[in-house]
Assembly symmetry: C2
Homo-oligomer: 387 residues x 2
DNA sequence: CTGTTAGCGCTTTCAC
DNA sequence: GTGAAAGCGCTAACAG
């Protein structure tokens, strides 16, 4: 391997000068620069970044942990994260926990061993709050609470659930079935929160807000409106075939169902099942996809969907990542830690919108952007204009 | 930062001993080991892998370049690649060129700068054969030819195209429309190959075989059978909305179309469009999804699909990656290079199967596994049992 | 079994 | 402007 000293020798300069040329830093006379450049060309020199990494103590790499790439929602999000990281001169080391069970531990390890500069955590954590407190390296959580010192970015699922509820109520439905993940993930177990009801949730905007939260809000609002609601559990969201099973259950296990709310892929399965049974959508059945991504477009027909602003979410995740890296490298730790506590409590920024492409359905929202942080709990919802 | 020497001092041993303990290598007395372990615990020591990387000259990281994660096919493939890399103690640095245009150059750069141990190239390359020849670092290509010294893994799209053709012919169709990418990618431009017709392709199993190849074979077989065939171009496969447009074109721009072959997501759009127009599938229209992944299951109805064996493809990609890494690190370069030339010419291993879940369609294949390398060009197809 | 020693290849003060 | 020198934190001969 040809190293910097070979170049230096060839160009008749010292290694430090070569380094200056490589990094385009400091002052080097044009003459010297040319000689060095020529030498590099001639020797076919390529710098070894591993040495640089060691010296600098960073790799410009961010670990990204997500449950699976199978779901278009996560695939899209990861794509956008990668995009924004790239803009910052960073790269993404990907881990889908569905494909790599030990991913969490492994990536946290790499973070601590300085192979990773930061971590974006989008999967359900196997570990308790204290575990995350101890890490003391840059981490940003997506759609979940890890601990007070770790900022969270995610959608405002409380508003999301409320949007669904209002849409369904406006549509005059009587019996709603929701399809979703295991109920025990409805809260962050490790935080010691018992299953909260929707009222409590609404009054605790500073608490965690995994996607599943929307279901609690939905149920609460439906109950208030006197609408029957049931729930079908999909045990493993990474096993797509279960969506088909769940869709079937929604039809078979309950009577007089006139509305189904489900994750996008499951919603597509619901449509398929409805057609098989000769049930017309939306005439006889309302279907709303939560986290609707492009799949809504390919579900056999376009369907109503609660969509998150994936691009913006990615942008913010990356922004926080950079901020955390900065904080841990530059900052005086004590003060910084304090400010993060503040931030973690207030920085729940969410984006939820409802799009409706089905003609004849009695509700229609324009896409809206909700910034949870910038408003009181319920106000903006009245602006949505439920027809 | 607490380093290995701090631990050594605390434990009253030398750094090398600590290193031995860390890596669980060599002989260390239990007593010493315990003392060292205790010291590590106490000091909260975490080894810095950057130093290790520098010394070892590797990062255990493989760059993976794919066009986009939006398509479930690539999302699945990336997931499986990650899985198999993990089994080898390696990790995947992901790059979807749709989200990061300069990805190819950047990743090749990282490969040369030793930030990456190897590269899996699944996107259309911006560079010529010579460019890849020069790299002289571990690279494996997915579904495309880069140069003679780089092994390729991919599906046998010649058989794939033939499968589609036979299925359609058996179904008695008269006018087929295929939806796909730009025709100029039908061959590897940089190799200087002119647009080949299917006959030529069949006789050149050693040539490149990007996915789109199946279309040439299909057209050729259809022409032979006297069946009309047209083609709708999707300019940018990363822009999903174009699939809807393309699906519409397939219906509007041609008359008497009774079969449509399309990438899975486009096929779903076709179904949607068909329903809108009151065209029954499969009674009035045959639809076959190429590269069918789970989306076929969620297209509103189950549809026939040519599926690749994603898991096996990933497994082989990773196997080749490890082999290339080995070759470039250990091997005597001259002999190795030669053997690779051999390998590159013969190692086109493909997996294509047709699954058909639509009742009433006059063809039905059992899932089959075709190993292109192990057979003559056409023989095994007769075993498929076209009903 | 354990310590000494010499780097891995590059970056960066700090003199000259 | 440029060079000398001191590492970044760990590994691996090689002695002992």
């Amino acid at each position: 391997m040809v190293g910097i000293r070979d170049v230096a020798k060839k160009a008749g300069v010292s290694t430090s000068t070569v380094s200056l040329v490589i990094n385009n830093s400091g002052y080097v006379s044009q003459n010297t620069r040319d000689r060095v450049t020529a030498a590099m060309k001639e020797l076919n020199y390529i710098p070894n970044d591993l040495a640089k990494n060691l010296y600098k103590g960073r790799t410009d790499t961010v670990g990204v942990i997500m449950p699976t790439l199978q779901h278009p929602f996560f695939a899209s999000l990861v794509g956008r994260i990668q995009h924004y990281l790239d803009l910052q001169g960073m790269r993404a080391l990907l881990c889908s926990t569905a494909d790599q069970e030990t991913g969490e531990k492994q990536y946290v390890d790499m973070l601590q061993r300085h192979t990773l500069d930061a971590l974006i955590m989008g999967s359900h954590s196997q570990n308790a709050q204290e575990y995350w407190e101890e890490i003391k390296r840059p981490v940003v959580a997506f759609d979940r609470y890890l601990c007070d010192s770790i900022p969270t970015v995610g959608a405002d699922h409380i508003s999301g659930g409320r949007l669904v509820a209002r849409a369904l109520i406006a549509a005059g439905v009587q019996h709603v079935v929701t399809i979703g993940g295991p109920r025990d993930r409805f809260h962050d177990r490790d935080r010691g929160i018992e299953l909260l009801n929707a009222r409590e949730l609404s009054s605790r905007p500073d608490s965690s807000f995994p996607t599943v939260r929307y279901q609690l809000v939905l149920e609460d609002e439906l109950a208030t409106a006197g609408i029957e609601a049931d729930y079908v559990i999909v045990e493993d969201l990474a096993d797509l075939s279960l969506f088909l099973t769940a869709a079937r259950s929604a039809f078979e296990d309950f009577d007089n169902v006139d509305a189904i709310v489900a994750p996008d892929l499951a919603a597509a399965a619901v449509l398929q099942e409805a057609e098989r049974r000769g049930i017309r959508v939306p005439e006889d059945l309302q279907v709303i996809a939560y986290d609707g991504t492009y799949v809504s477009l390919f579900a056999g027909k376009q369907i109503s969907a609660i969509t998150q602003n994936i691009d913006e979410t990615a942008r913010r995740l990356v922004a926080h990542v950079m901020q955390e890296i900065e904080r841990y490298s530059g900052g005086s730790s004590a003060v910084a830690a304090r400010s993060v506590l503040e931030k973690a409590s207030n920085d729940f920024q969410g984006y939820v919108s409802v799009t409706d492409n089905v003609e004849g359905v009695p509700y229609r929202f324009d896409a809206v952007k909700l910034e949870y942080i910038e408003r009181e709990t319920t106000t903006p919802l009245d602006d949505l204009g439920v027809e």
